[in-house]
């Protein structure tokens, strides 16, 4: 059972355009929603994260939009650059001590973003 569904699988955007990646979750107990960025041959690294008490969080060109009622959240990359070309993973975790899971992250399957110059 996939608890975090991510789309699209791949995305091609022109330089300067807006990249949008979407994720949907099922478990209403999730309380932490991070996005990780992974370059080829490297491990993932935290890009930005949000909690469900806010609807939007912005850090530079990266914005998370969160819709609690729809159980969806998305990553927007403004003014996309070739250096943003990477694979992006959304994730979610439950509150700590919920069912003994210790708040383990559940990842989406990833979106490969290519930004064309």
């Amino acid at each position: 059972q996939q608890q975090v569904k991510q789309s699209p699988q791949s995305l091609i955007v022109q330089k300067g355009g807006i990249s949008i990646i979407n994720c949907a979750y099922e478990n209403t107990a999730f309380d932490y929603f991070p996005w990780y960025q992974q370059f080829p041959g490297k491990g993932p690294a935290l890009l930005i994260a949000i909690r469900p008490d806010v609807s939007e969080k912005k850090e530079g060109r990266f914005t998370i939009s969160f819709n609690k009622s729809a159980k969806q959240f998305s990553l927007h990359i403004m003014d996309s650059q070739p250096g943003d070309s990477a694979t992006y993973f959304c994730a979610a975790s439950r509150a700590l001590n919920y069912g003994g899971s210790q708040g383990n992250l559940i990842f989406g399957k990833g979106t490969k973003l290519s930004v064309k110059p």
Partner: protein, 113 residues
Amino acid sequence: NAGVTQTPKFRVLKTGQSMTLLCAQDMNHEYMYWYRQDPGMGLRLIHYSVGEGTTAKGEVPDGYNVSRLKKQNFLLGLESAAPSQTSVYFCATQPGQGAKEQFFGPGTRLTVL
């Protein structure tokens, strides 16, 4: 300050062979994780540890064992490797209960023939 390191970086095994992957961290983090990454599958949790001497099963634990004898090291063992275990393995650490950011190592690419 090396962060999270993984040994080895690459390995080729034959079916039935055994091996151990080592994850080492110098950040004094309490929690450590082992994930596998397969094309189109995202990151799937194999085993994790919330402190020295503790381990627990994740989503895909079958065929793997782990140990956390020292706080800074988390070992992942394959007792009898199978082609289905061909994957890229990532170790990650997390400071503890209050901080949820995970820090990933560079990965180990394992091929089982």
